[in-house]
């Protein structure tokens, strides 16, 4: 996956890559990456958990827009099935609105 990101980026397409295994991702040299500690097959969370999925997608798009240099990597702290996702999404949207206003 990281290999694909590198090929696309070299061809002039900006990429942001999600990972489940931060160790591998960082060794590969990823242009923009973020990781979650979720089980395989669940990189954006649980089925039908819209708030959780949106929260993670927003993190990805935010990184795509704001990363200033190659190799920017974020390890997201979220715990599998132990977060209040709607509340986290609300807080994130408030943060994003505030940074847009600045």
């Amino acid at each position: 996956m990281g290999l694909i990101a590198r090929v696309l980026e070299a061809a002039g397409i900006s990429t942001v890559s999600f990972f489940l295994l931060a160790e591998i991702a960082q060794q590969l040299g990823i242009p923009r990456g973020l990781s979650v500690k979720f089980p395989f097959g669940h990189v954006l969370g649980e089925p039908d958990n819209l708030a959780q999925q949106q929260l993670l997608i927003n993190h990805g798009l935010n990184l795509l827009i704001n990363a200033a240099q190659a190799g920017t990597f974020i390890q997201l702290p979220y715990r599998w099935k132990r977060e209040d996702w709607p509340r986290l999404l609300e807080a994130q949207q408030a943060d994003l609105a505030q940074s847009d206003a600045q």
Partner: protein, 169 residues
């Protein structure tokens, strides 16, 4: 027999997420280039035509399935049109437990979310999406880097895509 073994392995990794982290530590990742390629993003999010790329083995129900009999994986890709609905899609991949993703494809390929982002104007549009099968080893890594990925890069450029979001299985 091999497929049953792989599917059992996938179930184990699903049941015990810590196993996956341990598996990763065993890996000697090759080809760590000091130089990381970089294409700065031009313009705002609302000006981006974005494609989704997954290694989750997703494909149209009408397309041929990925080859699960080659132990080194299937280095080919499948095109997923931006207009595809989750019901048009299925997963062929024995190396992870995709029962949850079968229920909601968005946890490996967030196509419904990006269709909505495009409809709302948060992004300019959703471009053509692509899926690989992630379990690629040995000689097929070369095929992936030298042939498959460059072909996709060319297709995306021709489709006017400016950015891509990549998600693993």
């Amino acid at each position: 027999m091999r497929r049953t073994f792989n599917q059992l392995g996938a179930w184990l990794y699903r049941a015990m997420p810590g196993l996956g982290q341990r598996w990763a530590k065993r890996f000697q990742v090759q080809a760590v280039a000091a130089q990381i390629p970089w294409t700065p993003l031009h313009g705002t999010l609302a000006q981006q035509r974005i494609s989704l790329i997954t290694t989750g083995g997703v494909h149209l129900r009408t397309d041929p399935v990925f080859d699960m009999h080659d132990p080194h994986g299937d280095p080919n890709f499948r095109l997923i049109p931006a207009t595809a609905s989750p019901n048009d899609l299925m997963i062929t991949h024995d190396y992870y437990d995709h029962r949850d993703a079968d229920r909601d494809i968005n946890i490996v390929l967030p196509i419904s979310h990006f269709q909505q982002l495009a409809a709302r104007g948060t992004i300019q549009s959703l471009g053509p999406c692509y899926s690989f099968m992630g379990h690629i080893t040995d000689e097929h890594i070369e095929t992936l880097i030298k042939q498959t990925a460059p072909t996709i890069a060319r297709n995306l450029r021709e489709a006017g895509v400016t950015a891509a979001v990549l998600t693993p299985a």
